[in-house]
Amino acid sequence: MSISLAVSSSSSIESPQARIAVESRNLRVFYGKFMAVRDINLQVEECKITALIGPSGCGKSTVLRAFNRMNDLVPVARTEGEILFQGKNIYDPDVDAVEVRRRVGMVFQKPNPFPKSIYENIAWGARINGFKGDMDQLVEESLRGAALWDEVKDKLKQSGYSLSGGQQQRLCIARTIAVKPDIILMDEPCSALDPIATLRIEELMRELVNQYTIIIVTHNMQQAARVADYTAFFMVDDTRTGYLVEYGRSDQIFMRPKDKRTEDYITGRFG
């Protein structure tokens, strides 16, 4: 508890001027009686990439999914604490989870395009959210935004499944930015991809961060060091509950970790 508070205060000290996109306060997530993460206090800065790292089972994905209430889809999941987004707790009873997800988009570990055409993959999200503008333009814009346009512009009618893994993942990113979210959550987006495709996604993330706030969960510390502005390090305690150990600018976390556990982890002593 004391650690979390300390981290929380330190991050706000480090960037006093920064605008906060989303903030978790005393976040706890339970799966039935099991507490998956405890007391997470995290302030995510706007238009920056924040990476969540940590050993397997430390609850970093659970925290990520708490930001757009994806955990609600798990029948036994229960969330305590607050997540403030645009000044409002998204877990307030009067907030609609569907509305939250439209504002906080998500890209998943395994590329999951819809079994529809490339065009429809992008247009569908816009359509169900009531988009009334020029759909062709939106599709092109989104595909360009995801650096995929040049590769697929001649085969928009083909199935999304006809693309390679990396292309599929960029299609999922294009699909996400087509609904114009404020924040994009990425849950190990490159873990199913080869190094070249990974590199392209990383480049794309650096471009996207000019417009979007990105929170990424990754197993790959090099990736976090390469792309993330901020890094949060999570660990798991004896009861297998995850907690936040240290949070700060990525260069600080990777070069001068304050916590011994962080240092042990990033130097490869465990995990």
């Binding site: 994806m70 036994v76 079994p115 609904v179």
Partner: protein, 707 residues
């Protein structure tokens, strides 16, 4: 070092033991492979045997027994027409006929050739279709009113019974002379030579001087030929060439052959037509190899008085007109005098009249003209039946084939005397033909029990006219109701259970357990449920009375709706379980992707889950429809009527269904109904296969469009 290696491999087989182990493992695999193959094979064999058994019953020979013989129907009709014409004088005595014609210039008639010859100076013979009767034209069959006459013997009798062989030998030598005296034409020299050669081959006798025959002979058959045989016998007895008795009976050719091929007591048959293959088969069955001797030709001269100046020749059509419709000569030809036609014909019991009618009009229904067929039909059914038929469709509109069909069903009323399976029909054909030939008045036909009439006729107690039309309609309607209930409810429930229910509340758990168990409940229990709920409790609704559309006969609620709802409940778990499987198989990533874009649950289900699960859901629907279509027990409990002859007029009608119909037919003792059941099973299977094929085609088409 060696010890170390040993140790590191401890526990694993080595060398020969390893080879043995490999061999054993391979053999075990092969054994299981064989077992799997055998299981498949057994399944296939069972399936093939099942289909073969059904097909075996659905096709095969049938011996039809007509209530009225079709040939005599035609014959009697024309004979009646002839006899009832005005100015027609029938006489049993040919002499009377010839004299009558000779005296009247406006008279016409026909007699045996011998009688014409006796009065050749006072009467004139006419050519028919341009041919005059003489030995040549009659023998060649060019003269229309001509036919050959036969004597039949058999090889065994000729070889073993001396008196029969001697009698036939003498018969063949004397017959030309005798035939001419009775009024027939001799068969000719070449036929006689052939006959004698055949006789020599069979009897081993030859030469001019035969010994005197002694014994008793029995000859039966045609009344046309009997006079020849009688006269030959008389002359042989008179000449002391035959000591004993020759008994000559006239019972008709058909009956003669039947006796000959069933009773060894008959030695010879007189016949006015050749033996048919089925009759020959029956004879061979008895051990008789029939030998045919053509003994004479019958040719009926049509004569007028020699005072008649205008008629020289007639066509068959004119002859038909003269004897059955025209009253005055100028109706036949305007250049002929306006005089009454006087007709002299043999008596109705005479074979000569029969022959004349048959030669002129033909003996089968198919040869008759439409007006004649119409007349035959109307004059052989009751006035009430006639009105009923006219109400169905005016008889005047019917085509010739339709008329023949109507006559068959209304007048001839064939009944199944015996029936055989397809295997028997193919493998034991001669035996079947023989058995059929032994049954008087039957016709053997190869029948496909599955035919258009079977599909389009309602149920009937007459197996030849029973059909599955009402059952097909019943089945389709019941299945439709079941479909309309089970498919929307089932898919909706599957979606709820997979996408909305948490599976944690006690309600969800109860529902889940129940559905899984319901799928295993015996169908008869559903029948009882349907009886209690839909028939009894909801009777006013399911009988349609509450809506004012019910039929008093279905006031008990045993209607298509009740049956359909019962079957709907029966197949509901199938739809739900298969639907849930299909929905569960949709990858979670697709749902997450959809939710991640801000889609509601409904949008996710509608746009992603359903299109991706539809193939599996439809598989469940297909299974459910097939199940409903083939279900029997619950329908019997709910109260399917086993005998419905009217098409269901809506959802509140009494019903039967194909399986119920099949069940009912199989439970009847008569073999014909077993054939009907087999035919109905063929129809049921074909319908099921086509329903499934349609559903699979739709499913594939739809699922292609989604991806």
């Amino acid at each position: 070092m060696a010890v170390e290696t040993q140790q590191s491999k401890v526990g694993y087989p080595e060398g020969r033991a390893f080879e043995r182990f490999l061999r054993w493992r391979k053999q075990l695999g092969a054994l299981w492979g064989t077992l799997f193959f055998l299981s498949t094979l057994i399944g296939m064999v069972v399936l093939v045997v099942l289909v073969a058994d059904i097909v075996d019953g659905a096709f095969g020979y049938v011996a039809l027994e007509y209530r009225v013989d079709p040939e005599s129907l035609v014959l009697d009709y024309h004979k009646n027409q002839m006899v009832s014409m005005p100015k027609t004088l029938p006489s049993e005595e040919d002499v009377v006929l010839v004299d009558g014609i000779a005296q009247r210039p406006a008279a016409i008639g026909f007699v045996g050739y011998a009688y014409y010859q006796q009065k050749a100076d006072s009467v004139r013979v006419l050519s028919v279709d341009g041919v005059l009767p003489d030995e040549a034209t009659v023998a060649e069959g060019r003269y229309p009113l001509a036919r050959p006459l036969f004597l039949y013997a058999d090889a065994k009798t000729l070889a073993s019974k001396a008196e029969a062989a001697l009698f036939v030998g003498e018969y063949l030598r004397r017959v030309d002379e005798v035939a001419a005296s009775v009024g027939y034409f001799p068969a000719g020299e070449s036929v006689r030579t052939e006959n004698l050669a055949a006789w020599t081959r069979a009897s081993g006798l030859s030469g001019e001087s035969l010994p005197v025959a002694q014994g008793e002979l029995s000859v039966t058959g045609s009344s046309t030929v009997a006079p020849i045989t009688q006269r030959v016998a008389d002359s042989l007895v008179a000449d002391n060439r035959f000591v004993g008795q020759v008994q000559v009976e006239s019972i008709g050719t058909d009956a003669g052959f039947r006796r000959f091929c069933a009773d060894l007591g008959v030695d010879l048959v007189d016949a006015s037509r050749p033996m048919q293959s089925v009759e020959r088969a029956a004879c061979l069955q008895l051990g008789r190899a029939p030998i045919e001797f053509q003994i004479a030709n019958d040719g009926l001269p049509v004569i007028v008085s020699s005072q008649n100046e205008f008629v020289r020749e007639l066509t068959r059509a004119q002859l038909q007109q003269i004897f059955t419709s025209a009253t005055r000569w100028n109706e036949i030809d305007p250049s002929w005098p306006d005089q009454d036609i006087f007709r002299f014909i043999p008596g109705v019991d005479s074979g000569t009249l029969d022959f004349f009618v048959t030669a002129l009009f033909g003996s089968s229904l198919a040869e008759q003209s439409t007006p004649v067929l119409l007349d035959i039909l109307t004059s052989n059914i009751s006035a009430g039946r006639l009105r009923a038929l006219e109400a169905q469709r005016p008889l005047a509109e019917l085509s010739k084939t339709e008329l023949v069909e109507r006559i068959e069903t209304e007048v001839l009323r064939p009944q199944v005397a015996a029936s055989w399976s397809l295997t028997d029909s193919l493998l034991r054909r001669t035996e079947i033909e023989a058995a059929a030939a032994a049954m008087p008045g039957t016709a053997l036909i190869f029948k496909s029990w599955v035919n258009w009439e079977f599909l389009t006729s309602p149920q009937s107690s007459d197996p030849l006219h029973a059909g599955v039309r009402t059952a097909i309609f019943g089945s389709l309607l019941v299945t439709l109701v079941a479909f309309l209930l089970a498919v929307p409810l089932g898919i909706a429930a599957a979606i709820y259970l997979e996408e909305y229910s948490s599976g944690k509340s006690w309600f969800d758990r109860v529902v889940e357990t129940n559905i899984n168990n319901l799928a295993g409940v015996p169908s008869i229990i559903y029948g009882m449920l349907g009886l209690a709920v839909f028939v009894r409790f909801l009777g006013p609704l399911t009988s349609g009375l509450a809506f004012g559309v019910g039929d008093p006969s279905t006031a008990n609620g045993r209607t298509i709706v009740s049956a359909g709802l019962t079957l709907g409940l029966l197949v509901l778990p199938l739809v739900i379980i298969n639907g849930r499987e299909a929905i569960r198989a949709v990858p979670r990533g697709i749902r997450e992707g959809s939710f991640g874009l801000g889609a509601t649950r409904w949008q996710t289900v509608w746009s992603h889950v359903l299109p991706n699960a539809i193939t599996g859901i439809l598989t469940g629907v297909i299974l459910a429809v097939s199940r409903a279509f083939g279900e029997t027990a619950p329908l019997i409990v709910v109260g399917a009527s086993t005998f419905v002859v009217v098409d269901p007029n809506g959802l509140f009608a009494k019903f039967t269904s194909l399986p119920v119909q099949i069940y009912q037919w199989t439970s009847r003792p008569q073999p014909e109904f077993q054939h009907l059941a087999a035919a109905a099973i063929v129809v049921l299977l074909l319908l099921l296969v086509s329903l499934n094929a349609l559903a699979i085609w739709l499913r594939n088409r739809y699922s292609r469009r989604v991806i």
